[in-house]
Symmetry: C2
Subunit: 214 residues, 2 copies
Amino acid sequence: MAQNEISIATIQRLPIYLDYLKSMTGGAEYISATALASALGFGEVQVRKDLASVCSSGKPKIGYHVEELKAEIEEYLGYHKANNAIVIGAGRLGCALLGYEGFSRYGLNILAAFDIDVSKVGKMENGKPILSMEELAGFCRRENVQIGIITVPAVHAKQACEALLAAGILAIWNFAPIHLDVPESVIIKDENMACSLAVLSTKLAKKLGENAAT
Amino acid sequence: MAQNEISIATIQRLPIYLDYLKSMTGGAEYISATALASALGFGEVQVRKDLASVCSSGKPKIGYHVEELKAEIEEYLGYHKANNAIVIGAGRLGCALLGYEGFSRYGLNILAAFDIDVSKVGKMENGKPILSMEELAGFCRRENVQIGIITVPAVHAKQACEALLAAGILAIWNFAPIHLDVPESVIIKDENMACSLAVLSTKLAKKLGENAAT
DNA sequence: TAGATTGTTAATCGATTAACAATC
DNA sequence: TAGATTGTTAATCGATTAACAATC
């Protein structure tokens, strides 16, 4: 049953379509690829191709049934069966993620944070506890945690990663700006803001250079 | 003077090389592409091609001079001439960005946050002030702010964006999960965590499916 | 000299875009 | 029916990888 492979680029755009569809007010029953494309700044052929890969509800002349499309994207992204996650590192970013309620919309259920700093342990952030690293493995097994989110400084990231592996985690979302070596069986996704920033600032520098030149 | 175009993919990897080079201890004077590749989990040809686009210090048999390479990457990314930035939205994420000191390494100088919530205005976060939206335009012009970072909820993002445009900002780093329409002259970079998360969770779902099947 | 390593050119792969057929 | 819109097939574009020449 060779599942139609959907490209990574498409997968990354699916949440964008879904967010837009959810934000629609006025209750229009159908929406066209053209309308979606212009609202999101994408090409309309791209939208059609993206949607075709997860849905089959498009009707010529009419467009896509909004509710059906939402359901199909959510189904594909697995938002209805949420993943349990924990955060390692209860610093500013870790607490921001822990306290952010929006993740539930994306099928991510962050249960707790863990930190080596005992002065943080025992506190709560938006109703969610900060626990000690000793409790990590037990907690993960007990609560069926699949995703570990690393928000510690780079120097502690390797150690945090090892703790997650030891706790039997299946996937890691790594916000530390450092490469982590994990077994092939573990999924890892780096989220390095410096990478995005580099794109922004080189574009800006180029623009400033052009202006100075003219 | 047609500047050798460096691909976006390469630009996004440059900070990763730089971070690794900076983290090197032991004071080795040279490093090979092979060593860099294995430390970072990249292909070695890719590393060589990436480095070739910004530097010229590679020597067969020896490798790249570490200090020279660091300087060349920093030069290309413009880290020595920092950009001034401000944050709109002093929520958890906004304050995390405002208080994060690591950005100075990446040539980003976040000066202040702005918020419509008057109860937050006047407070400080790690020595940096939270100001009212009325002060935005004046502050940006006075302090020569080029980059605006949007961390407000999606419903307020359009309004925040308009305020930034009115303040004459040149580039926007948008953390709100919504498409913002800006004039072509303004650079915009979306940072949508739901997009990355979608990649992670679909991989995880696939993996869980496979395990269940066997 | 021999060999490790760089750097470049060509081939492959993946994603986007264009052209067009299908359909309500 | 006519036309707007979907969906697919082919062409283009960009990035990665492979092969190989250059060099210290």
